[in-house]
Symmetry: C2
């Protein structure tokens, strides 16, 4: 099984690396990091580079494709080579997936039209410009398209995806393998539970430049 | 504030990238990925490379140092240049930290002697060879040394660390920023809750080669 994870400049690292850590441990799976131009891609903070080993043309028919988000999503939405490749691979993929504002890139490729989908909490309404119905859930499956909420949610989506692909037992093995027994010190990870001041701060100072 | 995250070949990516995603969003913080030899470091699966931008000598006195784990920890425990650097930076650091089997590297540097510490669940007893007392908790603070359990636990540790460095409100803002509202599809992320068969599988087939 071949899994392609798309990289681009100014992506949010955990969007890609969370799901990778789950999917990369699926027995028999190969994960390939792909980009329009292969090479190191600098993440949104500028502090880290993740390497795309392959070009889009190198991976013409992955079983699973995953698009992460981050501020670079704005440029990715306008990358015609990427959008054309996403449309092409979606024709034969088993699962077409995204994390965070990566769903807006799937949307720009025309792959979310008429579908239920999610994205980063602050960007939910943006899904409408691509004809999708926003759903404020941790992850959303609509047919073979699966979208996750913000950043860290890709870990949850990937475990759910492994369960569908290989069964619950394999997903549980991988969950134990990455010791994913989350114990966040605060209950502040969604706008439903965060202090009102925190939610408002993001609305006033969003790191995410939306188009 | 300068935060140094150590990279080495065959590290587990999420050990480093989970805490990076939290600490890299701390206002005023600079995160530098360091290695004995700078350049791309291939993670344990072989599917991803993370770039170390700096050598150890480039970062002689970080405020925070974090050591990830993974199978490459065995070689890291024998990397005398790394161990000497860890001893040196610990003299002036505010926080000396690790995720997963990274604590065994701190231990090899002599920094856990007489301390309570944790590590990947399957490696807990290994802490004793470095004079530490194993504690099966998500993360453990003992003075300025903070160690986290396996792989994904570094996200929880980093949020707790931000709370101590910058206050609860900043930690909550970052938690909302990365939408860390975990909803794992199974309760299988620790040996206490995973199916017995899963725990035994790892005991029989550990991915982690311990010395």
């Amino acid at each position: 099984m071949q899994i392609a994870i798309v990289l681009f400049d100014r992506l949010t690292a955990l969007d890609a690396v969370g799901p990778y850590e789950v999917l990369g441990n699926l027995p028999g799976a190969t994960v390939t990091f792909v980009a329009t131009e292969p090479g190191p891609k600098r993440t949104d903070t500028g502090f880290l580079a993740l390497t795309a080993d392959a070009s889009l043309e190198d991976v013409p028919a992955p079983d699973v494709v995953l698009v992460p988000g981050g501020p670079g999503q704005v440029q990715a939405e306008q990358d015609e080579a990427l959008l054309a490749w996403l449309r092409q691979v979606d024709e034969t993929s088993t699962w077409t997936t995204s994390v965070c504002t990566g769903s807006l890139v799937l949307g720009a490729a025309g792959l979310l039209h008429g579908k239920r989908a999610t994205t980063y909490w602050l960007a939910l309404e943006e899904l409408r410009r691509h004809g999708a119905t926003p759903v404020a859930e941790r992850y959303v499956f609509d047919g073979k398209v699966a979208t996750a909420a913000g950043v860290s949610s890709g870990i949850d989506l990937a475990l759910a995806l492994v369960a569908r692909m290989a069964g619950d037992e394999v997903a549980q093995l991988i969950q134990l393998g990455i010791e994913y027994d989350p114990q966040p010190p605060f209950d502040a990870g969604s706008p439903a539970t965060a202090p009102a001041g925190a939610t408002q701060w993001f609305r006033d100072n969003s790191r995410f430049i939306l188009s």
